[in-house]
Structures are given as C-alpha cells and as structure tokens.
C-alpha cells in the first residue's frame, strides 16, 4: 500500500520555525505552506520549489532559480503598479550548499491573503441556487444574478489592471482568484444564499506569469479563464460578458485584446503552452 505522504524537509531557515509551517497544497512545481511573516503577528504564505532529483543538477538549479525570480519580479512589479496581488516579503533563489551536492531548491515568502478563492464562492453559490432557486421570487433571482455579475465585472477590471501593468498570469482559473475579506467593518450583504461576494479581488499564483504586453498573451489569459468558468461554473458562464465588460473599461489596450479573443478560431497559440512544461516534467519523472 502507498506510504503516507511525507513532504520534503523544509529548507533553512524554515526548519527552525516554531511552530512549523503548515503544508497547504502541493502543486506540480512546488509546495505551499502557511507560516509567519518576518513579524510574528502577521501570517505569510511560503512557496517552496524543491529541487527535482530527476533533472540534471545544473539545469535544475537554473530552472528553479529562473522561475522563482520571475514570479517574484512579476509580483513586486504588480504591487508597485497597485494591482492587488500578494506582496513579496522575502526570497531565496540560490539554494543551499552552493555546489552540486547542495539543495538546489528555492523559496518565496508572500503576503497572506485572508479570504476564499472565487472557485469556492461560485461553487457554493451555484449549489445553493441549484437547490433553492425555485423558491426565490423574480426580484430575488434578479438580485442574486446581479451579485455574481458584479463580481465577474470586478474580476474583469482586476485582470485589466494586471494586463495594463504589463504582466500576463499564464494560468488564470477561478482557483487563482481570491476575495480578500474586508478588514473594516462594512455592512454584510443580505443574501438568502449565505454566500458573500464581498471583498477585494486578488490574483494569486504567478508561477507561470511573465511580462508581456502582447494581445495574444493577454487574450490567452481571458480565454483560459473563460474556459475554466465554462467547465466548472455553468450557471455563471452566461455572465462572462460582464467580465469582458469590466475588462474593456479597465484600460485602453483592452479593445484590441478583446478583438484578438473574438478572432479566436485562429488557435490561441500559447493557450496551455505551459502544459508542455508540465508534460515534460511527467516524462522526466518516469524512471528510465
């Protein structure tokens, strides 16, 4: 039987951290932990990209280093530009031990975002609506749809801000969009569903992001998100035009990006281009 999964040992200095960072998720490229920032009263997210023993050590170091620096650069640039993403708090791209025998991994400490991911918000809302929509009157139904429309519009606006700043996300799904819980006392929404759509839209996971101002790359972000919403949130899909609307109003370049998106039949060459990388990882992982 499979052994219980044990995550790889944490890199220094987090092997000192008490209490130990808590493993949250494990992706294709790294592990995500919850820990403290440099201030013990403030939480932080820690992304660790361990070295991959199946890669040649020099190549491994170079790839790991390049990717974590790219992610941190995109995030820092976006913070400077006022786009809501987690801020970079600390970073180590060099690994430890210095030579081939050392640990070739890297880590990135980021601001902790307190709130749900939009995937969960939409899932909960859709589940409630599926069960109870028939009990709502026309006005209530309208109001519920309006809340989700407004959320999608805010998301479109935030993505517009991202693109305006010259960064494309590369993996936009509703799992990579969060709602930061409001810190100030604001009046809670009254909704029969019990699902709040309040909070600032925050984009997360820039592991596949890059700096680009090309309509093609920007359109891929929108296309990937559109497909993600279509496949996971069928009841919200008809409101996609709201997202497009929010995006269009966000910056001047939006029109040509949206035109590129509409011209779609020409394959969006880069959609899922990162899949190559993931596939390659799978192939390389297979022992020969």
């Amino acid at each position: 039987m499979a052994d219980e999964y044990k995550p790889p040992a944490l890199p220094a200095p987090f092997n000192n951290t008490n209490p130990a960072p808590e493993l949250l998720t494990q992706g294709a490229e790294g592990h995500l932990y919850k820990t403290f920032s440099l201030d013990p009263s403030i939480p932080a997210a820690l992304k660790v990209r361990p070295s991959k023993p199946y890669r040649h050590p020099i190549l491994d170091r170079r790839l790991t280093r390049q990717r974590i620096i790219q992610e941190a650069r995109c995030l820092t640039k976006l913070i400077r530009e006022g786009v809501s993403v987690p801020a970079v708090l600390a970073l180590d791209w060099e690994g430890q031990g210095g030579d081939e025998a050392g640990w070739g991994g890297a880590w990135l400490m980021m601001e902790w975002i307190d709130g749900p991911v939009v995937r969960v918000v939409l899932e909960q809302w859709e589940a409630w609506m599926k069960k109870n929509a028939s009990s709502l009157d026309v006005a209530q139904l309208e109001q519920e749809n309006a809340r989700v429309k407004a959320l999608l519009r805010r998301i479109g606006k935030t993505i517009g801000g991202l693109h305006k700043a010259g960064v494309v996300h590369g993996d936009l799904t509703t799992s990579n969009i969060m709602l930061r819980l409001p810190t100030e006392d604001i009046e809670a929404e009254t909704t029969p569903t019990g699902v709040s759509t309040q909070g600032e839209v925050v984009l997360i996971d820039f592991g596949l992001a890059s700096q680009s101002a090309q309509d093609e790359d920007r359109a891929v972000d929108l296309y990937v998100l559109e497909r993600a919403i279509g496949s996971t949130h069928p009841r919200s899909e008809p409101f996609m035009e709201e997202l497009v609307h929010g995006y269009r109003e966000s910056h001047r370049g939006a029109t040509s990006t949206l035109k590129r998106l509409e011209d779609n039949p020409v394959p969006l060459s880069n959609a899922y281009s990162h899949m190559d990388r993931i596939d390659l990882n799978w192939i390389l992982k297979t022992p020969r």
Partner: protein
C-alpha cells in the same frame, strides 16, 4: 538595563541568533561613530543606519532578515553581517555607495543601530551597555509612528526609483493614506528581497 534596546523577534531565525535594535534621535557624535566603522574598530561592529533612510519597521526588518539569511548561507557580499544589513538596504549593487546613502554619515541626526549576536559573548546586556556608553543621543522607541517622523520619504522613493508612487502623509488621509504606506512599504520590501537577482 536600558529598556530602549529592543530584541527584534523575527520568526524563522535560530534562537542563538538574536537581533538587537535601538533608535536614537538628536545624535551628537555621528562623526565619531562613522570613524570607528572606517577604522575597523571591532568594538563597533554594528549596522549603523541613517534612520532617515528607513521607511518602517517592516522595511528595516526585511533588510536585516535578508542579510542574516545570506550570512547563514555563506554568501555575504560585504565584510560581515552588520555591513551586509546596510548593503541590503541599497537597491544598487555597490557596497561603498550603500554606506554613503544608508549608513551613518557625519551629518546623521537620527540613527538606527542593529547588532546581531553572531557570537555567544554578545548579549542584550553587553550591547545595551556598549551603546549607552558610545552613542550620544536620545533613545526612542523603534515603532512606525516614530520612524514616520524621521523618514525622508522623498529621498527613499528616489533611491528605489519609486517616485511615481503616492506618498503617505499626503493630505488625502484615511484609508488612502494607509494604502499608500502599504504600497510603498511592500514595494521596498520586495526590492530588498529581489536585490541581486
């Protein structure tokens, strides 16, 4: 002993490495302190930072952590962990330049002193006693309120090429002010984390 010396609680550092910080205003003997650094007086192995170049606690802490992490991994670019803290504050890669811009100068009036206990003889008491005997100035609490009265935000922004960002302390006030502070602070912290990349 003197209670103004703060032991900075940075998670993730081993307990054996304590970080002591003290903030002084109206320093009278900055030239003397700088001279001790220049002559390499071992007694004066501190990070002596011109506090007007510090934006907030988080800003200073980011530089301290960066330097200590590089120290732990044997990749200091400068002499020791203390000079590395000053170097870490500098967005550019020139060591001498970082001392000119961020380190104590003859004209320094407000001083942030940082000491890392890199050997067991360095204790809170020894640091407090030595600083008290060496720095002629008024010790004040190292908090964001006090630092905000000292920082030269325009100059800091210029150094980090962040001139386009809104400045906290503008008349706007309220939430906008908090957002401006946060945005600038996080931009500085990110720049320190990425330095040399």
């Amino acid at each position: 002993m003197a209670s103004y010396l703060e032991t900075l609680d940075i998670p993730h550092l081993p307990e054996s490495l304590s970080v002591y910080v003290a903030l002084y205003r109206d320093v009278q003997n900055a030239a003397f302190l700088r001279q001790q650094l220049l002559s390499g007086n071992k007694e004066f192995e501190y990070a002596f930072i011109d506090a007007s170049m510090v934006f907030s606690r988080a800003h200073a802490t980011a530089a301290i952590f960066r330097a200590i992490n590089d120290y732990k991994n044997d990749r200091l670019k400068s002499h020791n962990v203390h000079s590395e803290i000053v170097f870490s504050l500098n967005p550019a890669n020139n060591i001498a330049d970082s001392f000119r811009k961020f380190g104590v100068a003859d004209s320094t009036k407000d001083l942030l002193a940082v000491k890392v206990s890199v050997s067991p003889e360095i204790t809170r008491d020894s640091v407090a006693a030595h600083l008290e005997a060496s720095v002629q100035g008024t010790p004040v609490t190292f908090d964001d309120q006090t630092i905000s009265e000292i920082s030269d935000v325009t100059r800091i922004k210029k150094m980090f090429k962040l001139g386009a960002l809104p400045s906290p302390g503008d008349k706007t006030g309220g939430t906008q002010n908090t957002n401006a502070k946060r945005q600038l602070e996080m931009s500085l912290v990110g720049a320190i984390a990425l330095r040399g990349s």
